[in-house]
Symmetry: C2
Subunit: 165 residues, 2 copies
DNA sequence: GCTTGACTGTTACGATATAACACATGATAT
DNA sequence: ATATCATGTGTTATATCGTAACAGTCAAGC
């Protein structure tokens, strides 16, 4: 059974039904957890929900404050562990430039994302990175380097903020 | 007048005349400083030399320790300011993944580098990034995003460590 | 000589991240 | 049933990375 998937690559930059957007992402996370035997515990699930609320990167301490306010632990490891879990299972990504984390909108499909970070509104979108990765791998292979992981992060202006001047 | 330039893209991964390698980079830095009216003061120059000693990224505090041992200030801003100067004038680059800095081997030519980081020997090489950038810009443009700055960093194995298993 | 601006140094603090340990809980294994 | 074990959650304490704010130096320009 197949279905037409909406293009999520610039969703963060455009007006959209965000309730549906987060519900879908959460549902996919649950499906993946069930399939792979992951334990999407209350803290972990709530951390993901918090990241999903806005299409921007949040620092660990920002997430921690939210978790603490809701009755979870209030010490750094609480947030770091939940975030590490999400990242290690592809449910969130770490933005190196910002020392921050962003929810993944399509954890199901394997992907090597490129992050587009708007410096004005702070929105972070995940763009398809296949071409970029291919170019990167080719360049690396030319000098005998084997790429295992890569981070590609661009800072600039999203369409909305660009139009606003 | 033109001259054949050696390919520096994988220099960090191969055996080479490193004294000559650092001397050249330092000479280029001095030339650039003279041309652009930059003040390559003792701390700044020494910080660059320290980064040039090894083809790897060094943390600010690591550089600071070295500077302090040589009679410069021993407080964090001393290192951060010198490193910020080097980075802002293209004489060094910041590696986001590592919260660390690496000397640039060819500051003269404008470039949008891709960093190849060996997880085994920690060497960091700067590979040509034109193709990667082009792909990145194209992908961003497709969703209306304007790229202003980008960081592309790959972690993996360099040819030497790869051969060593 | 005096002002000005860039540079270097300091103290003090803020922000980010991890080590190490105590306890709970649920799944085996005896 | 109860001992054992693995995983997860919470804690305290500490490590690592980064910056704000201010004081002193020194050379350039008036
Ligand atoms: Zn949304
Ligand atoms: Zn924006
Ligand atoms: Zn060298
Ligand atoms: Zn290596």
């Amino acid at each position: 059974m197949s279905r037409v998937e909406p293009d999520l690559s610039a969703l963060a930059f455009s007006r959209h039904d965000h309730d549906r957007c987060t519900a879908t992402a959460l549902h996919q996370a649950e499906a993946q957890a069930a399939r792979d035997g992951l334990r999407l515990t209350p803290v972990r699930r709530r951390a993901l929900e918090i990241l999903l609320e806005a299409h921007r990167a949040m620092g660990a301490y920002e997430v921690l404050d939210r978790l603490a306010a809701e009755g979870f632990g209030r010490q750094p490891p609480v947030a770091y562990r939940a975030l590490d879990f999400l990242v290690s299972h592809g449910l969130a990504h770490r933005i190196q430039r910002l020392n921050a984390y962003v929810a993944c909108l399509h954890p199901a499909e394997p992907h090597a994302p490129v992050f587009l970070i708007c410096r004005a509104c702070e929105a972070v979108a995940e763009a398809p990175g296949a071409r970029v990765r291919a170019a990167l791998e080719a360049g690396a292979a030319a000098v005998g380097f084997t790429v295992e992981r890569a981070s590609v992060e661009a800072v600039g202006l999203c369409p909305t903020c660009s139009a606003a001047g």
